[in-house]
């Protein structure tokens, strides 16, 4: 999984801040400047990359990771992840309810891809708690960014708070805006 995460950080930083910044980050972190998403890497590299990027950009790591989460949905690989996640639910509520299934879905797609387990706790009144194990520090901020972007995609209005290993969702309006079009068959199928 760390190859995937490091590769995402690489693509995110190259795409939004340029290749030279990414090279500087890789150098500061003492890692290679090219990650293969499907190959394994030592877990500790991820934290070093995040810290180096935050230092280079003079931004808190949390903000950077949340931006990464949004980028994964809106920009990464022509929105492919967005499409895969839209399969999880017909509306945002269905999507949230199916988050616990995500590790199983990920394993279906790629055996050996171990996403951390996540618990979805419905507190009622539109408040949903997501508890997760963080495979690297700050992972819940990436999840918060992902959820923010997916809520936008479904046209839902939500308020998101990030705590330690926990994200709280306040679903204010499930049909606030128009959902982005999602075609089951996709493009080129």
């Amino acid at each position: 999984m760390y190859g995937l995460v490091n590769h995402a950080l690489e693509r995110f930083l190259c795409d939004t801040r340029g290749v030279s910044l990414w090279r500087a980050v890789a150098r500061d972190a003492g890692v290679e400047d090219r990650f293969e998403p499907l190959l394994p890497y030592p877990p500790e590299q991820t934290g070093r990359i995040i810290a180096a990027a935050a230092a280079q950009l003079h931004r808190p790591a949390e903000m950077l990771l949340e931006d990464l989460g949004v980028w994964l949905i809106t920009r990464c690989a022509e929105g492919r992840l967005r499409r895969l996640l839209r399969f999880c639910g017909a509306d945002f509520g269905g999507f949230i309810a199916s988050i616990e299934e995500l590790p199983a879905r990920a394993r279906l797609a790629l055996p050996g891809l171990d996403l951390p387990a996540c618990r979805v706790i419905d507190r009622g009144g539109g408040v949903v708690l997501l508890r997760m194990r963080e495979p690297f520090a700050g992972a819940s901020h990436v999840v918060a960014g992902l959820l923010r972007a997916m809520a936008d995609d479904y046209g839902a209005l939500v308020l998101i708070e990030v705590g330690s290993r926990q994200v709280t969702l306040h679903l204010l309006d499930a049909a606030h805006g128009e959902a982005r079009r999602f075609d089951l068959a996709g493009i080129g199928m």
Binding site: L84, F87, R105, L108, L110, D183, L184, G186, M189
Partner: protein, 317 residues
């Protein structure tokens, strides 16, 4: 039929079911099928609208009732030409209820008929299957990219291992491979080293010496045919492989051209270099070569050329 299992409930659980009455008329279609079959379907005879592909021989209600519980394969006559699979069960009133799905044709069906998540029942794994197809494609593509990148890396590593870093010519290993690849074909070898290279190095410095070697490499390649291999064997020593060259006069002409070209002054950034070259030549008429003997012969010819004075080419005897 229990009233509690009415159409509404069945519609939600199985949006792709059909109800037939005792004579085989379509009484009701679940919402997804209703949309796909169009408004004309209700009241139509099932067997006029569908052909039962399997089990074979089912053309009327008695056959369908007898096949209750078996896996059915159906093809729509006309319309969208739907291909469906499913099962029939008797409803207790002489008719049957057919639970249907697209089976493995779901990917195709979703594309052709513009289906959405709402078209599939809650326990239907169609959407999961679509997810899997798409995820699978993404992963496969990523693996394909990975193997392309690894192949490119392998190629460039191999090329680097066979290339002289300074000049970009083949190195010893590159030449050995090129010789091996000759099999039992005829070829000529030319061994040459530069006259007065050491003086240029001493006078203009090592950087100029390197630049000179690069320029010589460029000149040598410019004189050669496309299939020839020029290698820098080390220092100022070069070896040239000329496939299919059998005649003394021919190889002599190439050598004379090289000697002429390298005897002209070469302009470098650090100044002008005046070198020259001597060449030892050997012809291999074909058949499995004894490489060590050929190389030794070329080397001896080069030695003889130098002994005759500079700027000479000698053919090994």
């Amino acid at each position: 039929m229990e009233p509690s299992l009415g159409g509404d409930l069945l519609d939600r659980l199985m949006p792709m079911h059909l109800r037939l009455d005792a004579v085989g008329s379509i009484r009701h279609a679940g919402p997804t099928l209703e949309r796909l079959l169009g408004p004309g379907a209700r009241g139509q005879n099932f067997f006029r609208r569908f052909r039962v592909l399997r089990p074979t021989g089912i053309v009327a209600m008695p056959g369908l009732v007898a096949a209750a519980g078996a896996t059915l394969a159906l093809a729509e006559r006309g319309g969208r030409g739907l291909r469906l699979r499913g099962q029939a069960h008797v409803d207790g009133a002489g008719g049957v209820v057919l639970g249907l799905s697209f089976g493995l044709g779901v990917v195709e069906a979703v594309r052709c008929h513009g289906l959405t998540q709402a078209d599939f029942g809650p326990s239907d794994l169609a959407v999961e299957l679509l997810f899997l197809v798409e995820a699978n494609r993404a992963v496969t593509e990523e693996f394909r990219h990975l193997s392309h990148r690894l192949e490119a890396a392998r190629r460039s590593a191999t090329a680097a291992a066979l290339t002289d870093v300074l000049t970009g010519l083949a190195n010893r290993r590159g030449m050995a491979l090129a010789l091996e690849a000759m099999g039992s074909a005829a070829f000529a070898l030319m061994q040459l080293d530069l006259d007065r290279f050491k003086q240029v190095n001493d006078r203009l410095g090592h950087a100029a010496g390197d630049a000179l070697l690069q320029e010589v490499a460029r000149l040598l390649q410019a004189e050669m045919r496309a299939g020839d291999t020029v290698a820098r064997m080390g220092g100022d020593e070069f070896l040239i492989l000329l496939p299919r060259m059998r005649r003394e006069a021919e190889v002599g002409r190439v050598a004379a051209r090289i000697i002429d070209r390298l005897s002209q002054p070469i302009r470098l950034e650090a100044g002008e270099a005046r070198i020259g070259t001597s060449i030892g030549m050997v012809l291999h008429p074909g058949g499995r070569p004894a490489l060590a003997d050929l190389l030794a012969a070329a080397d001896a010819a080069l030695y003889a050329a130098k002994a005759q004075g500079r700027g000479r080419a000698v053919l090994a005897t």
